[in-house]
């Protein structure tokens, strides 16, 4: 399918045969994400819609740029994802791959992108490895990472008086690292961890763990887990009336569309950090309304990230004059001052980490919420420098 499409496009290009004008730049973007599994709502078709909106808003056609978008479902399998990524670069002439939720797939694509001198604009994956252990000069990690979420939530809640923490930790590497990151932040801000319990992964029944957390006397119960586990834990915490009884529930990795699915009735009082919420300012509202009209739901921060990263990428390509040399385009992105309608001021650090403000939100109660998508109260914000981990020396590509 991908192949045929590429061949027909090539054939078309060959047939028209007109010699390309000097300022003509052609760019091919590939949106690679989960379109059928657990991240389909978060990224999926919505990310393709976001990328298309970015191309329209950039007015690429007026600037002599032809931008084409292809998309595929990596099914959350690294081998499927890496196969598609290779084929896109080697055969189909894709210049940049966007989105890519699921860390294992994102890391595989980061390596392939580097080999092919393409560009990876990652919005969907949370692994900090993308700009640390496995940093690559062709990677831009736009929206969030798990450390920033843990940092934002941990610091803001501790400063707001949640001094005593109790963790429900998914018992595998990811859960432990999330707990570790947050613990460090909580302690640095004068809080303490009064206890933690390892929950087998994946888990259906959280009742005994929630009872332990309830009995621990902690101010904040931190959910160091993700996806279905977080959703299950929140549902059961709501049945136990934990937030109503005065304890705070903090989700360390969660997205607006999960909260929307749970509804304010169940998720009320939950604290979480995000990089973007549709109802923040006129810019986000205007974009989100247009997105809603096309896609039928409000954008998640991942989809918003795809939009903004694409805009910045296209601008960099225009400055460089060609999309062929991925590293040159990424270097240009790092050199630019980006003032984005959705993320505000964004700088891309030498290691590829995009720095922008992160916000702590609390889910509104059912009474406060005035509509289906009226979900959050903004509590506080942290700057990108505070939220994201500092750069590692070996990832400072400006010196290499």
């Amino acid at each position: 399918m991908i192949n045929k499409f590429a061949i027909s496009t090539l054939a078309l290009a060959a047939m028209t045969g007109a010699p390309a004008m000097a300022q003509d730049i052609s760019v091919k973007l590939g949106v690679l994400n989960d379109r059928s599994g657990i991240y389909a709502d978060l990224s999926g078709e919505g990310s393709v819609v976001a990328a298309r909106m970015a191309v329209e808003d950039f007015k690429a056609a007026d600037k002599g740029m032809t931008v084409e978008i292809v998309s595929a479902d990596h099914q959350n399998k690294p081998d499927v994802g890496s196969n598609i990524a290779r084929q896109w670069y080697d055969v189909d002439g894709v210049n940049a791959i966007l989105d890519i939720p699921t860390s294992s797939v994102a890391l595989a694509v980061a390596n392939i992108t580097h080999e092919a001198n393409g560009v990876m604009l990652n919005s969907g994956a949370g692994s900090t490895s993308l700009t640390r252990e496995q940093c690559r000069p062709t990677t831009v990690h736009w929206t969030y990472d798990t450390a920033a979420l843990a940092n934002g939530t941990g610091a803001a809640m501790t400063n707001a008086g949640g001094k005593k923490w109790f963790f429900l930790t998914a018992d595998y590497a990811f859960g432990h690292s999330l707990e570790e990151n947050t613990t460090a932040v909580v302690e640095a801000n004068g809080g303490e961890v009064v206890g933690q319990v390892n929950v087998p992964f994946p888990a259906q029944d959280f009742s005994s763990f929630l009872l332990q957390a309830q009995g621990s006397g902690a101010d904040v119960i931190g959910l160091a887990n993700a996806g279905g586990d977080t959703v299950n834990a929140i549902k059961q915490a709501s049945e136990f009336g934990i937030t109503q009884a005065g304890q705070k529930l903090a989700a360390l990795l969660m997205f607006a569309n999960d909260v929307h699915a749970l509804g304010p009735q169940t998720a009320q009082g939950l604290s979480l950090t995000e990089a973007f919420y549709w109802d923040q300012n006129d810019g986000t509202r205007e974009f989100s309304q247009r997105f809603m009209d096309t896609h039928g739901s409000m954008p998640s921060m991942v989809q918003a990230g795809v939009y903004s990263a694409t805009l910045a990428y296209l601008e960099a390509v225009q400055t460089v004059g060609s999309a062929e040399d991925g590293k040159a385009v990424v270097d240009q992105m790092k050199a630019m001052d980006i003032d984005d309608a959705l993320f505000g001021k964004v700088t891309i650090r030498a290691d590829g980490r995009a720095l922008h403000d992160m916000y702590l939100f609390e889910v509104k109660t059912a009474e406060e919420s005035t509509g289906e998508w009226d979900l959050y109260n903004q509590i506080s914000s942290v700057t990108g420098e505070e939220a994201f981990l500092p750069m590692l020396d070996e990832c400072d590509f400006s010196k290499q």
Binding site: P78, D79, L107
Partner: protein, 325 residues
């Protein structure tokens, strides 16, 4: 024992007189096709198909010829891919040694699990293998060297025998072709050996095989270990192709996928698993643009397969031709 082996082998020659020529012809056509393939299709995709074809063929040895339904073959496939990836990345071994390490690990694991699992039959056997596979998944999730849910990434492609670089897709393709084609020929040889005949006898009527004096458990253990080893060879090779090992390879759904490939292609046929693997992998790859439709299309094809090709695609063709394939 020896006499019994001899009679079965002579019987085979009588029964299948003239047949090997057809198989030989198919293998030659297949080999020519595979040599030409990378010039038409994308080599990495073709390598993936070959790895899964070997995996399905190894699984078919156990299910189709041994009559043992294992629901945990991802354990051998996946653990071999982890070991091979680790060997290449951390120990810095050459590709062929890494693959050997992975294959050997799968063989040892297969022997250990097999020696416990074969004590039960039918559904209990399937459940025991599934339980052990879940344990392997747990280890892959928790152990330090596997990298948790990120997997082992960025495995170098290395130099074959320390001499020939496999960084180029074409070079790697012909290496993978040699490994998988060799593996499939080896499996073919096992199936058509006296040992294979005894296996089929056990599959058809176990009490009778016992009454003829065969040590049935020994045969079962050997075939289980062989199947696990070859599944490991496939997994180890795949980790070199994609330069990564991840939880997908050890997940139970991978065990399910290989059952699907084998059944769709034709259980107990030589070429069925290869066709089945080709179809499933192609669907996963080329339908990727359809997003959520992939699983639906896969489901419809499976339902059609069950309704119209109950013996699998190759099984039906084989019935039309009245010749075993």
């Amino acid at each position: 024992m020896a006499m019994a082996d001899k009679t079965t082998s002579t019987q085979r020659v009588e029964q299948t007189a003239g047949m090997p020529t057809l198989h030989k012809a198919i293998f030659v056509v297949l080999l020519i096709g595979l040599i030409a393939l990378p010039f038409f299709a994308y080599p990495v995709f073709a390598m993936k198909v070959m790895c899964f074809a070997l995996f399905a063929a190894a699984f078919n040895l156990l299910l189709g010829f041994g009559g043992l339904l294992s629901f945990g073959h991802a354990a051998y496939f996946g653990s071999a891919s982890y070991v091979a990836a680790h060997a290449a990345k951390v120990w810095g071994l050459t590709p062929e040694l890494s693959i050997l390490c992975g294959t050997a690990a799968a063989g040892v694991l297969g022997f250990a699990i097999g020696s416990l699992a074969i004590r039960r039959q039918g559904i209990y056997f399937a459940m025991v293998t599934l339980a052990f596979a879940q344990m392997v998944y747990f280890v892959a999730l928790q152990a330090e060297f596997t990298g948790g849910e990120d997997g082992i990434q960025g495995v170098p492609r290395g130099n074959l025998f320390g001499l020939f670089s496999l960084a180029d897709n074409m070079a790697l393709y012909f290496f993978v072709l040699a490994v998988t084609f060799g593996g499939i020929l080896f499996l073919y040889r096992i199936v058509h050996s006296p040992f294979g005949e005894v296996l089929k006898a056990i599959r058809e009527n176990e009490p009778r095989a016992i009454s003829l004096g065969y040590d049935v458990n020994r045969y079962k253990l050997i075939v289980f270990t062989l199947s696990a080893t070859m599944a490991g060879l496939a997994g180890a090779t795949k980790s070199q192709v994609f330069q990564l090992a991840s939880l997908t390879d050890v997940h139970w759904s991978m065990s399910g996928e290989v059952v699907l490939m084998t059944l769709l292609g034709g259980m107990g046929t030589v070429f069925g698993p290869l066709i089945g693997a080709g179809i499933i992998v192609t669907m996963q790859n080329y339908l990727a643009t359809f997003g959520a439709w992939v699983t639906i299309i896969q489901g419809v094809i499976f339902v059609l397969g069950v309704l119209m090709f109950r013996e699998g695609i190759v099984g039906v063709i084989s019935r039309w031709l009245k010749k075993p394939l």
